[in-house]
């Protein structure tokens, strides 16, 4: 496996920071070469590649901005892109040749790279793109300024009264040359011919005329985007939630168990009522408690499952007794084992769950008295979370009591474009379109089967919003989506008002007459069958641009537009909660204060928390760590249960820092405590013992742990950023520089396999890396990478603290050169932790990531100084993460209001 990995680390090579534990596919080398070339070319021309550029991996495929609009097929996209690349490549060849003539050999290459570094620096600092030093272009520029700008404008933007249209198009330089030579300037075309005309043509083509130029010049803007997969999923969950009620926060954990003597619910036989931390019981033949016949009892566990990460889950019940497992609502049966038969005791069900949602859950167990073959009673509830391994569902995911019904879309949605470093819905294709149809049909089913029945029951009489029932109580029985005993006309009217409310929620605002006619009335009139009408209506509504493009709302009230953006930013969803819809109706979301207090309320919601968790995973690039596995011979106890604990510990640590009172970013690096489990204490030893008085499960460690630097020393991260049997300072360095410090580093010109420790038995890892990256061509980047990565050498391949590697002591010294060229030295991980907690580079990286993740637009689109302002505000607030998220949401939400106030 190692042999095939290109490393240097796939991290530094592909720019993707692929999991070091995962081998790369073979073609990498070729692709990387091409990428490197493209990127070099792009850099010299100053393509606006974002600083935290993940675009590199897909640079051949994607455009830097959406100014050309999305392309519907791969072929036109490639064709268009190759034009740009083609143009870009021509120029740097010239530049390279010029430099190479003056400086021989390696130095020339180095200079190119240094040049690139400078360009990259300029890029990071947002300097405008200068014209490349080309005499032809300079000549053209001069002539244009003298003879053309008067009518066409300084940047070809056009001049009202003379030539108003902008100079843009797709003619070639040759065609432009002929046109200019023949006709331009209008009054005296003979003054600009031959080389002059060619120079002007080359200049305007490069400066603003061509598609490539327009892309280059385009300032970042807020692009119209369709819902991403995540947003579609969340929006449908809230569209359902609008009718079912929204979840409240609770600190209680566990499941409420009610135990009865006799195999049915009889109040007089109730023996135990308690909250069970998890569901994992072996009652054997003794029964669950005093006063309960061991052969004849009934237990109901009720509560909810809190899901923090979207993805495929498997829910597993193991039981020797009959049971029924309801999930999502107390009426929806997920596993029906009402009768126990034969020796079947394991029941598994796969479900796709949406993050930030709390799924009602009920398990009813029946131990029935039998005349023959009474088995012992045993039951457990386990899960396999996405990418994880099976475990009993931990206590912190279980909430006692009832929760409103929840719906999670099961349809598979295609992955979204992530070439900007964050998901954006900037293109539509057939696969996506088909998936929206499938999603609409699935939702229509659940709307007919559950929501319509609920609506008829709850609001049948008054038909108004006031009759809204919260929660799920007393909902048994009526679940069919069919008409009822009410007269036909009355039922039809009720159906129309139900569908109107569904569509108005989906469209994030009231329906006008034409919309009401098409989306609701026409569909109801088209069929006598309620379910069919619901299906038609929802197919239309959920495939409508009014639903799929959340910011297509210029015709909505200011408060509505604010609410739409708040929900989109903080929940990836639409406004569905009663309080928010009321605020919109009363137009109480216009002042900055009102908006901020709404955002504050939303950020702490489970939906906001889930999106925050996703952001932190993005910031730490955790999704790309992949599967953490280690050499079983060397690390036999580093097994799947331990890895699952590490993950849970990291999650708990992040939650604690973000959602504590101070919500202090700096704690992410300065905390001298963490979360641990018995397995972790056993494996990691000192510093990982639970706090005094705490036992079992997931608990805090004592503070003052040696070698504890918050995230930085967390074994999940440290083992993820390492090879199977040794550390990888390069992965760690690239991680630090790219993700935590937000700097750009280019992929290397070639891919390399790491030097094998076996061939260099007397070198430490640090020494091997130094040896391999010693060529001058490597050093341009590796002085930055290695200097950071080496500081974490105290943490071995599984994240255990060490002070020696073999016979030699660990040398954890290193350094970093910041954006302003200041060199900082580190004696070891503590210095690095302090630096990350106090560095402007790190603050800006964090703030930028957060903005991108929550808003899904580049921050510069909200003003050139926005990032600096936001970062300054972050510092002023004592680095309050929660506050930062609120500020981001306020900026995104107020944007249409600000624009409106600027308009005359």
């Amino acid at each position: 496996m190692r042999a095939r990995s290109t490393c240097f680390g796939p991290t530094s090579c592909t720019g993707r920071a692929a999991a070091p534990n995962v081998p790369l596919a073979k073609p990498t080398r070729l692709v990387e070469k091409r990428l490197a070339r493209t990127v070099r070319a792009g850099k010299i021309l100053g393509d606006p590649i974002p600083p935290t550029s993940q675009r590199w991996t897909t640079g051949l495929r994607r455009q830097p901005d959406a100014t050309l609009g999305p392309s519907r097929g791969a072929i036109p996209m490639l064709a268009r892109q190759s034009n740009i690349v083609g143009l870009a490549l021509r120029v740097p060849v010239v530049v390279r040749v010029v430099i190479a003539k003056r400086l021989p050999g390696l130095a020339a290459v180095t200079l190119v790279l240094v040049g690139l570094a400078a360009a990259s620096w300029a890029q990071e600092n947002g300097q405008p793109n200068a014209l490349p030093a080309d005499p032809v272009l300079a000549k053209g520029q001069a002539i244009y300024a003298r003879s053309c700008a008067e009518c066409h404008g300084g940047q070809g933007e056009g001049v009202a009264g003379s030539y108003a249209d902008p100079l843009i198009g797709d003619a070639s330089i040759g065609e432009l040359t002929r046109l200019i030579a023949d006709d331009m300037p209008l009054d005296e075309p003979e003054t600009c011919v031959g080389e002059d005309a060619a120079a002007v043509a080359a200049y305007i083509h490069h400066a603003f005329y061509s598609e490539a130029a327009r892309i280059r010049n385009r300032p970042p803007r807020i692009a119209l985007a369709r819902l991403t997969g995540t947003q579609l999923r969340q929006s449908l969950a809230d569209l359902y939630g609008h009718f079912a009620g929204s979840m409240w926060r609770t600190e209680e954990r566990g499941l409420r168990g009610t135990y009865f003597d006799g195999a049915r619910w009889r109040n007089e036989n109730k023996k135990i009522e308690r909250v069970d931390p998890t569901l994992d019981f072996d009652f054997q033949r003794n029964g669950p408690g005093e006063g309960i016949n061991a052969e004849d009892f009934f237990i109901q566990w009720r509560g909810a499952l809190k899901v923090d990460v979207t993805g495929p889950y498997e829910l597993i019940v193991r039981s020797t007794c009959a049971f029924v497992f309801n999930f999502g609502t107390f009426e929806r049966v997920l596993i029906n084992n009402r009768i126990q038969s034969g020796d079947q005791t394991e029941f598994r069900e796969a479900v796709y769950l949406t993050a930030g949602r709390v799924y009602p859950l009920q398990i009813e167990l029946y131990q029935r008295k039998r005349s023959t073959g009474q088995p012992p009673a045993r039951i457990s509830l386990a899960w396999v979370p996405p990418g994880g391994t099976e475990q009993t569902i931990p206590r912190h995911h279980l909430l006692p009591g009832s929760a409103p019904a929840v719906y999670s879309l099961q349809v598979h949605l295609p992955a979204d474009d992530r070439s900007y470093g964050f998901e954006r819905g900037l293109a539509v294709d057939r696969q996506w379109d088909d998936s929206t149809t499938a999603a609409a049909l699935e939702f229509a089913d659940v709307a007919a089967g559950e929501l319509w029945a609920r609506y008829r029951r709850d609001r049948g009489r008054d038909g108004g919003r006031s009759g809204r029932a919260r929660g799920d109580s007393g909902a048994r029985g009526d679940t069919g989506g069919r008409g009822d005993m009410a007269g036909g006309d009355e039922n039809r009217d009720r159906l129309r008002s139900f569908l109107t409310e569904v569509v108005e929620t989906a469209f994030r605002g009231p329906l006008d007459e034409a919309s009401r006619k098409f989306y609701v009335n026409d569909q109801v009139d088209a069929t006598e069958d309620d379910s069919e009408a619901i299906k038609r209506c929802l197919l239309a509504a959920l495939k409508s641009p009014r639903f799929l493009y959340p910011t297509l709302d210029a015709d909505r009230s200011p408060s509505q537009r604010v609410a739409n953006r708040l929900a989109l930013t903080l929940f990836d969803s639409l406004p569905a909660d009663e309080w928010l819809i009321t605020a919109v109706r009363e137009n109480k979301l216009t002042s900055e204060g009102e908006i901020r207090s709404a955002a504050e309320r939303m950020v702490g919601d489970y939906r906001g928390q889930a999106k925050t968790r996703e952001f932190l995973y993005e910031w730490l690039n955790l999704r790309h760590l992949g599967e953490v596995t280690k050499n079983r011979q060397r690390f036999p106890e580093f097994d799947e249960p331990l890895i699952a604990d590490l993950k849970a510990s990291l999650d708990a640590f992040l939650d604690e820092v973000v959602w504590s009172e101070s919500s202090d970013y700096r704690q992410l690096f300065l905390a001298d405590w963490n979360y641990t489990t018995p397995r972790m204490s056993e494996y990691y030893g000192q510093g990982w013992q639970p706090r005094e008085g705490e036992t079992g499960g997931l608990t805090r460690t004592a503070t003052g742990g040696d070698g504890q630097f918050g995230l930085l020393s967390h074994p999940y991260l440290m083992s993820g950023l390492a090879y199977q049997d040794s550390t990888s300072p390069i992965h760690r360095g690239v991680f630090l520089i790219r993700y935590l410090l937000g700097r750009t580093i280019r992929p290397p010109a070639d891919a390399f396999a790491p030097l094998s420790p076996d061939l260099h038995p007397d070198l430490t890892t640090r020494e091997r890396v130094e040896l391999q990256t010693s060529p001058e061509s490597c050093q341009v980047c590796h002085t930055k990478i290695n200097g950071l990565g080496f500081t974490l050498e105290n943490f071995d391949a599984v994240g255990r603290f060490r002070s020696q590697e073999g016979e030699k002591p660990i040398d954890p010294t290193g350094s970093y050169t910041d954006r302003n060229g200041q060199v900082v030295g580190f004696q070891g991980p503590r210095d690095l932790a302090n630096y990350l907690a106090g560095s402007d580079d790190a603050y800006q990286a964090f703030v930028n990531r957060a903005f991108q993740h929550f808003v899904k637009q580049p921050v510069a689109a909200y003003g050139p100084d926005r990032l600096a302002q936001l970062t300054a505000r972050f510092k002023e607030s004592q680095f309050q993460i929660r506050n930062l998220l609120v500020e981001i949401a306020v900026i995104a939400a107020r944007q249409p209001l600000e624009n409106a106030s600027q308009e005359p």
Partner: protein, 445 residues
């Protein structure tokens, strides 16, 4: 259980070499695969619960001169296509009460697993230990490209309670694998035609959507308009595809593939049972015309089912009534009426099948379909599983119809073997082999 799946298997088991077989059996040298396309054979099990009133059910005269008693009277028009099989007994013992074994062993011919469901008597039990005959035949038909259909089998129901237990399941795909019948006609329609109907619904809204796209275009900048334009172009593309597909379907004009219409908003409740039965039977006939399946079952309620046939003036539940002694004249009369109503459902199905021409062949669907009407008990108040009602209508199995037969206490496993054999997939045993020693029933063909 074993079966003779193929010619090869048959030859291997009969010890003939391939070459010898051609001489010995006079088969065409290319083998059975090149046989003339066989006629489509279909088999439908109709289940009604709680036993019958034997006195008014079984013909007293055997043979072709049999008479139709009160309960069977609705079949008068199909007397020549009807065969009554008296003396077939469900002899399976083991766990479970009479009703549970009655339904759970009826088509499986094998014991129930031990389990925790305690019935009114006997020991508790779970699901069946084996596959049911409808599912077995289906799997055989599906394994052969010549008899393969889209679904293989369809399990219809009417007012089956929404709980999965031994009393509510007739069909089993294997040990511990009960098959839930679909008792909601709309759900069945969706299963049969869902995709087509979804595409029709989609086609009908796309035009309106396009209009809305154009209205919204004006709300965005020139640059953003491209995305909407791309999206609209795609909507148009899908619309054209759908139009082409729908008009093709229309031009083919195959009635069999027309999507049936159901009356709107019929809810699943007791009083709607007659209408639901009719809807389900119509869908069943329709699915045969479209050749979606060759095997089907129609389960009316469940073992111990409690329909209240108010439309017959009967307010009590069927199961409750079925426990009354024969001396309770009122109950006795009501039970005759109830069973007659079940028979009317069978007759309606026969009537629909008889009135529908066999697509691509001669005769009617009924000529190639056998309805097997059966029950979990012989008689309600005794819970006997002797003389299980087996009334067959139609020519699917190729049995000699228009007769009343009495087998004098044979295990019903032998009849299950006969079904397999008649459907072209003979077996050495079905269910518990202890009841299969004498082979399939004789004298049926």
């Amino acid at each position: 259980m074993t079966s003779l799946r193929s010619r090869r298997e048959f030859l291997v088991q009969s010890g003939l070499s391939l070459a010898a077989a051609n001489f010995a059996l006079g088969l065409p040298s290319l083998g059975w695969a090149d046989d003339q396309p066989a006629r489509k054979q279909r088999l439908v099990f109709v289940f009604s619960p709680n036993g019958v009133i034997p006195q008014h059910f079984w013909p007293e005269t055997l043979g072709a001169d049999f008479e139709l008693k009160r309960i069977l009277e609705p079949l008068a028009a199909f007397k020549q296509q009807t065969l009554t099989l008296h003396g077939v007994c469900n002899r399976i013992r083991g766990d479970g009460d009479g009703h549970m074994r009655g339904i759970g062993c009826l088509l499986t011919g094998i014991e129930l697993f031990p389990g925790d469901v305690q019935g009114g008597s006997d020991t508790p039990a779970g699901w069946s230990q084996g596959i049911s005959v409808d599912q077995y035949i289906k799997s055989q038909l599906q394994a052969d490209p010549r008899t393969q259909t889209r679904f293989g089998s369809l399990e219809f129901g009417a007012l089956v309670p929404d709980r999965a237990d031994t009393w509510t399941r007739l069909s089993y795909a294997g040990p511990n694998q009960p098959v839930a019948p679909i008792d909601d006609p709309y759900q069945m329609l969706n299963k049969l035609y869902g995709q087509t109907r979804n595409r029709e619904a989609l086609a009908s809204v796309l035009d309106g959507l396009s209009e809305d796209f154009r209205k919204l275009e004006n709300m965005v900048s020139q640059e953003d308009r491209r995305l909407l334009a791309d999206h609209l172009a795609m909507v148009r593309e899908v619309e054209q595809e759908l139009q082409a597909e729908l008009s093709l379907r229309k031009s083919q004009g195959d009635v069999g593939h027309a999507v049936p219409e159901l009356p709107a908003n019929v809810r699943e409740e007791n009083d709607n049972m007659p209408q639901i039965c009719k809807m389900q039977l119509d869908l069943l006939v329709n699915s045969f015309v479209a050749d979606f399946a060759r095997v089907a079952s129609f389960q009316i309620t469940n073992s111990v089912g409690q329909p209240r046939m108010k439309w017959l003036g009967i307010d009590e539940g069927h199961h409750t009534l079925s426990h009354e002694p024969d001396s309770n004249e009122d109950a006795y009369e009501k039970l005759i009426k109830i069973n007659t109503w079940y028979c009317e459902q069978v007759a309606y199905l026969a009537e629909r099948l008889a009135a529908t021409p066999e697509p691509g062949g001669g005769g009617s669907l009924l000529d190639n379909t056998t309805i097997v009407w059966t029950n979990e008990l012989g008689k309600g108040n005794s819970h006997t599983r002797d003389n299980i009602p087996f009334v067959l209508v139609g020519g699917g199995l190729g049995f000699q119809m228009g007769r009343a037969m009495d087998f004098k206490r044979v295990p019903h496993n032998r009849l299950l073997m006969s079904f397999c054999e008649a459907m072209g997939h003979p077996v050495k045993s079905f269910g518990n082999p202890d009841f299969c020693g004498d082979g399939p029933l004789t004298g049926l063909v």
